[in-house]
Symmetry: C2
Subunit: 431 residues, 2 copies
Amino acid sequence: MARIVALEAGDIRFPTSRELIGSDAMNHDPDYSAVYVTLRSDAPSGLAGHALVFTIGRGNEVQAAAVRALSDLVVDREVDAVLGDLGTFARDLTGDSQLRWLGPEKGVMHMAIGGVVNAAWDMAARHAGQPLWRFIAALPPEAIVAAIDFRYLTDALTPDEALAILRRAQPGRAARVAELSRCGYPAYTTSPGWLGYSDGKLEALVRQAATDGFRTLKLKVGADLAEDVRRMRIARAAAGAGVAIAVDANQRWDVGEAIGWIRALAPFQPAWVEEPTNPDDVLGHVAIRAAVAPVPISSGEHTHNRVMFKQLLQAHAVDLLQIDAARVGGVNENLAILLLAAKFGVRVFPHAGGVGLCEMVQHLAMADFVAISGSMEDRAIEYVNHLHEHFSDPVRIRDGRYLAPAAPGFSTEMREASLREFAWPDGPAWH
Amino acid sequence: MARIVALEAGDIRFPTSRELIGSDAMNHDPDYSAVYVTLRSDAPSGLAGHALVFTIGRGNEVQAAAVRALSDLVVDREVDAVLGDLGTFARDLTGDSQLRWLGPEKGVMHMAIGGVVNAAWDMAARHAGQPLWRFIAALPPEAIVAAIDFRYLTDALTPDEALAILRRAQPGRAARVAELSRCGYPAYTTSPGWLGYSDGKLEALVRQAATDGFRTLKLKVGADLAEDVRRMRIARAAAGAGVAIAVDANQRWDVGEAIGWIRALAPFQPAWVEEPTNPDDVLGHVAIRAAVAPVPISSGEHTHNRVMFKQLLQAHAVDLLQIDAARVGGVNENLAILLLAAKFGVRVFPHAGGVGLCEMVQHLAMADFVAISGSMEDRAIEYVNHLHEHFSDPVRIRDGRYLAPAAPGFSTEMREASLREFAWPDGPAWH
């Protein structure tokens, strides 16, 4: 009877700010970082589970402390009990009556829970010998519903409604697994669009992205309107017909300011405008969306739990949703969010980039295609081309599409050499 | 030229769960705890500032790590620069581009910022030789506006509107300071109403509260409807005419469940129903309030920042608001919230209890009375009668009213003996 014997939280940081990778209107100098979460078991096979909680540098040690605070709730559990009921496992973590005060279900503590829950799903998929997306897609609808915490959701989505959505998708599952294995899932790229890049670099990267087969790319905006118009013009000309351009303001604007700015960018027909204002401001998004229609509005990368996603959908605050693999309470909560999106008929464009986010979120998008929404039409997963070399099973992109992962697990295992090199503060990269 | 030389974060925990103090429908066994924040200066006077970030036990060490993560942003600043521009000081902390990822402006990281900002206000009031409420109430309206971060607020409250509210209150300031110094501010008590208490203890405590002069008291509800009806009946009979009874569900219900439960309690005419559902669920509160009108609905104790408070008010989601001194980003953000409440004409009933919350929030309510709303009619500050003995300037209650603090500062300094006794994990109380 194997047990969980350790919960480890490694502090891993990459000095990305040295090259302005990831610079946007709110995040000037991110050092992409992560708490590397490992659940170890005493199973003879050496079974373990991994996940990353992504941060952008300072404070990663706080995030690591939050993961460690969960040890007593995790260590000594039987592996079979955890993997056999991941719904109860997640609810035991979010429901701890003392830790709950530190959220509830938001910020550092909730991201820590998400990391531990994601590591348990990685362990479950490895144990089953399947990539996570296939592991989820093979679960009976009842098992997916059992993994979800419907508390605070039932005014928008009941377990029965969720079950009906999952059952509707069931007949086509096998065909969609085959389709994904053959063609992958569309990607869009943000690599050309960071604010810190020169015009020449922007233009060259946009051309390259179009050549590489991306049908959508994204520019960061929000620091300076005249600059944004100029950069949008350069990108629009370089991208060529058939390539859509989205823009991302990273929460820069107040509601009134967002409306003016988006109207000025509207002639370039952005595919969507992402995070126009504070991620908590559901009603602000409603006001912005109404004022700039038909420009599509999106949010979700910083939306901290299913209750906030529920409201974005109930209020028709967004045209599209981003989900993030490392912001909410793990796979379970993302399944709830994907089911809510399916219920409200809103398309999901998963957020990725950083470190490990592409590796993780591809599984969620693919599981959604197979078992929930049944569609990848007019959808795409964000892609940014850095830091993948640190993973033992990195994402593979071909012709602007994510190829379906084939190795068991959540693609979250990092290479030992990278863990050593970028350990903070003592790894060689930080000397 | 004095400088800040240290930011300290002490882990202080009280074993309150041994007596079921603080037990409610979601928090079964809190061990009231706090990170005790101290800003030290090298001023010859020994000037320092203190504040508490309240938690309920496990995870207090994560909260302490978050406070320490702010050290580099605080230590070495000139004391005069900090105290002379507390608005910039607070914005420098919330705006740190890397730490911001861990919120933004929510959860552990935001509570840590609130603690450091509150310690700076304590320092400022001590430096001025005034209790904080009088220090704030003596600031020019322009200085109060300058302390506030209006980012994301301007669609609901502009700096000019805030200034107009403050100027309207200005002529009566001196009279209201005198009134507070003479009569204090109304309190209501939650001491009788914890879920873990027997019927006999409930009845005796309710009678005692009425005898002690409290005009409002509050019962915890939400675990069992038949029990709640029975306890409400006992309390209603024991309280006597002229004493109102509020109830607090501590986020226990889904929207539909809340509506049914509140309708069953409505015959007892609760003064308000607090936290009927998840604190993030603005639209849920709107639905509940509409369905149970005219029963007053309230929330706010867990509302994590001004953007959420803004929406509660814009959507008319609540009849009353709770504020909390240790949940949001400190005095500055609470001033924004009090101004929003004044703009929307919603009364504020500050949340307190725990450890240090009564000591802190009384200053905010009194500053509001003097300089913002100008009213304490049909308002009251929560009061719970425990753990005050650990403070060097504890709250004083007489005839159901908070007496106005007279000692300089934010009433946040704890006794050295208490800090030693309840230090976690090595203090004598934990052996």
